[in-house]
Amino acid sequence: MTQPLARPSRKNPLRKTRLPLSPHGARSRTAHGLTMAAAEGRFALQTCADCGKIVYPPRDACPACLSPRLPYKDVDGRGLLVAETTIRVSTEPYFRERMPWRIGTVCLDAGPALVAHLHGDTREGERVRLELKLDKSGAPVVLALPEKDTRHMQDDPQMRELTCDPKFRRVLITDGRTAVGQALAKAFSEVGSSIVFVGIADTWKPFTSMEALHGIAGVEIVPFDITDTESVQEQAEQNGGRIDIIVNTAEHIRAGGIIDRRGITIAREEMDVRYFGLMRLAQAFGPVMRFRAADGVNSAAAIVNLLSVYALMNWPAYGAHSAAEAACLSATQSLRAELRAGGVRMVNVFFGPLETEWFQTVPPPKVAPAALARAVIEALQKGLEDVFVGDIAEDVRARLAVNPKALERELTG
């Protein structure tokens, strides 16, 4: 059984800081089908479109019928752990720092045998279920979990290495004035985050729920204005060395397209909050997070960016807003590459219209702030990279995959 994690004590400055390292992250182009599934938390393997054989490792021809049509499809991840080994000597510095390391051969009920990382609660000869995870290099790996959930299983060292679990980690929520920011503060507190820093711009300005925010265990209100470089820098200097997860909740939502708006003042604000805001955040906190990404139980783990799903395809009713979100999305792709050097995960959480004041005129379905907060926590616990929350977001993603042009036309309707 997994030993529950002990709350980490203050860092002893005399002990070595474990520097961030990555396992070998190179993959073939075909294997990136696994990356896509892992990023979304699905277990998908290549399944021959002609003969139905499930294939692993990733190939470009089916070994049963030579068909080149091998799309990735979700498959049942259950199987038997036939053999295991505990590796004590490794050629890669990343694993040398984490020895011993268990791996095993799992025979999937669905067919192939897979070499997998092993959760501590798996046993040779017993049944397991496989999940795809992203490792510190951002590359996909297979993790075998015990067939049924076990107590404290999230605390297993290999599991924790492949996820960004908020337990005992310190979180910064960039804007606590929003309903989503407040829901997130409550959610992080509930899953055992050590400190939840909640940023408030112009703290002297009162807002509803201020009292409630103060009442949440572990919450610490800090002055933070994402549109003010100095304010962001100041907070990074103050607490940057002990912030492990950042959730960027800064929002700026106004209706209107490009022509119909007068001038670019609002568009500038949108870009300032969303695009330049993310840039300020990344420049101030990114370097220290990258450095601290392997430093024990409460190492730096992730930056979560909340994004309108219309970042993926413009919704002209909120056309300028969508464009700012798209800029923000593009920036996260660069950040993802830049943060990977330290193994810090860049998580994008896409959602449709929220159940908040800014979307009053939009018909349902809408996403409740609490649901969005739950999705963020789950994404961190599972180690996801791309998350779609709510029916609209799922709908847009699905339509985008089938025919982007159709989606573009239909969003203008």
Binding site: P23, H24, G25, A26, R27, S28, A31, Y56, P57, P58, P63, V82, A83, E84, T85, T86, I87, R88, V89, S90, T91, E92, Y94, F95, W101, I103, G104, T105, C107, A113, L114, V115, A116, H117, E124, G125, D135, S137, A139, V141
Partner: protein, 391 residues
């Protein structure tokens, strides 16, 4: 599917066994090591290297070159050329092709060469880029290299057939005894079963003395007709039969057998001898569990009974069933692809009374088997040859 009886190798022979003494690490290139083997080969045969009209090369570290680049590098103009990048099966595969080329008259003198260097960090780099499947589906899992892959195979073999670590140890200890008189063996300190059992774990159940030591070195031999060998004053060794098989039994969830199990019958019938007639065996010993699989699959004992077979024999050159008579890779080291030549070169020496270490008394027939290329979770290539002393 087999349509015809395989043709015998007639008077094709192996001769001029060459070993370039191994070193743990080398600052030289693979070209340097292979070049030295070629030089030693021509010297032993009394030939100018330009007289060689066939060349086959095996090496992991000669990249970006292949055999074609080496022709210019070494100043050769062969009319028959091959590159065999099959790791531990390279020797058998190269021999098979060279033998048929000589038999058909496509070449008269084929130099078979294998060599690798070992720079301080070249082993890790070889592992990282060993194969696409390894890159995608093995190396990111702890980067334990072959040790981890064979640990899973060994673990499953032990679970399935009841082999014990002591049985693996018996093979390692006996080979270390056989290595005592071999001048270039990297590991010659005598090994006891107690020391074997007490060694540190590398990747359970693989412990220190189950692992070969990566090193630099080269091995070579010449393939030609018996008359050619005699005219050069070289002691020939006859080739009775060979087999080769790749990716056998893909349906086995974990490897418990190799391609030998498909083709062993043909190996013995083509040679016209039986396992009992063999005076010594050189199996591919990157790990003792693989030697056990070879003993079973090649017909020396039944499947799952290799542990008992090992217990029943000394496996030493002076005892019953001499096995890996120069100490094998477990004692002399694994010089990359040259590891796939080691057994053949040693067998040629045993059958011409030129063993560098101890000679197996009255050795007339020897078996050599090869195994290689852990592409994903198992060794894909397997091969074997039966060699005989020339009359």
């Amino acid at each position: 599917m087999r349509s015809s009886q395989r043709q015998a190798y007639d008077d094709v022979v192996l001769c001029a066994p060459v070993t370039v003494a191994y070193r743990r690490y080398s600052i030289n290139t693979a070209h340097w090591w292979i070049g030295r083997a070629l030089r030693a080969l021509t010297k032993q045969a009394g030939l100018r290297h330009k007289d060689l009209d066939g060349l086959t090369v095996s090496s992991f570290t000669v990249g970006p070159d292949t055999a074609i680049g080496l022709t210019q590098h070494f100043g050769l103009s062969p009319r028959w050329l091959d590159h065999v990048p099959f790791g531990g099966a390279s020797g058998i595969v190269a021999l098979r092709r060279a033998a048929r080329a000589v038999q058909a008259g496509d070449a008269d003198l084929v130099a078979c060469l294998a060599g690798d260097t070992n720079h301080v960090d070249s082993f890790r780099k070889t592992l990282q880029t060993f194969s696409r499947f390894a890159q995608d589906a093995v190396y990111p899992y702890g980067s334990g290299g072959a040790n981890a892959s064979f640990a899973l195979i060994a673990r499953n073999y032990m679970n399935t057939y009841g082999a014990r670590r002591e049985d693996f140890g018996k093979i390692c200890v006996a080979q270390r005894d056989n290595a005592q008189a071999v001048p270039h063996a990297l590991m010659k300190k005598r090994l006891t079963l107690e020391e074997y059992m007490a060694a540190r774990a590398i990747s359970d159940p693989i412990h220190l003395f189950d692992c070969v030591m990566p090193c630099a070195g080269a091995e070579a031999f010449l393939v030609c007709r018996e008359t050619t060998a005699r005219s050069l004053g070289l002691e020939p060794v006859r080739l009775l039969s060979t087999i080769e098989r790749h990716n056998a039994f893909p349906e086995d969830a974990i490897q418990v057998r190799g391609g030998w199990a498909v083709d062993a019958g043909e190996l013995w019938s083509m040679a016209g001898v039986a396992p009992d007639d063999v005076d010594f065996a050189e199996t591919y010993d990157d790990y003792p569990v693989i030697s056990m699989m070879q003993l079973e699959d090649l017909g020396f004992c039944k499947k799952g009974e290799a542990a008992e077979f090992v217990r029943a024999h000394t496996l030493t050159n002076d005892g019953s069933f001499p096995h890996n008579t120069c100490g094998g890779q477990l004692s002399v080291g694994q010089a990359g692809a040259a590891g796939g030549y080691l057994g053949l070169v040693e067998a040629v020496r045993q059958l011409t009374d030129t063993a560098l270490g101890t000679q197996v008394p009255n050795a007339r027939i020897g078996l050599v088997s090869g195994f290689g290329m852990i592409n994903y979770d198992r060794g894909l290539a397997s091969g074997a040859a039966i060699l005989a002393r020339a009359a």
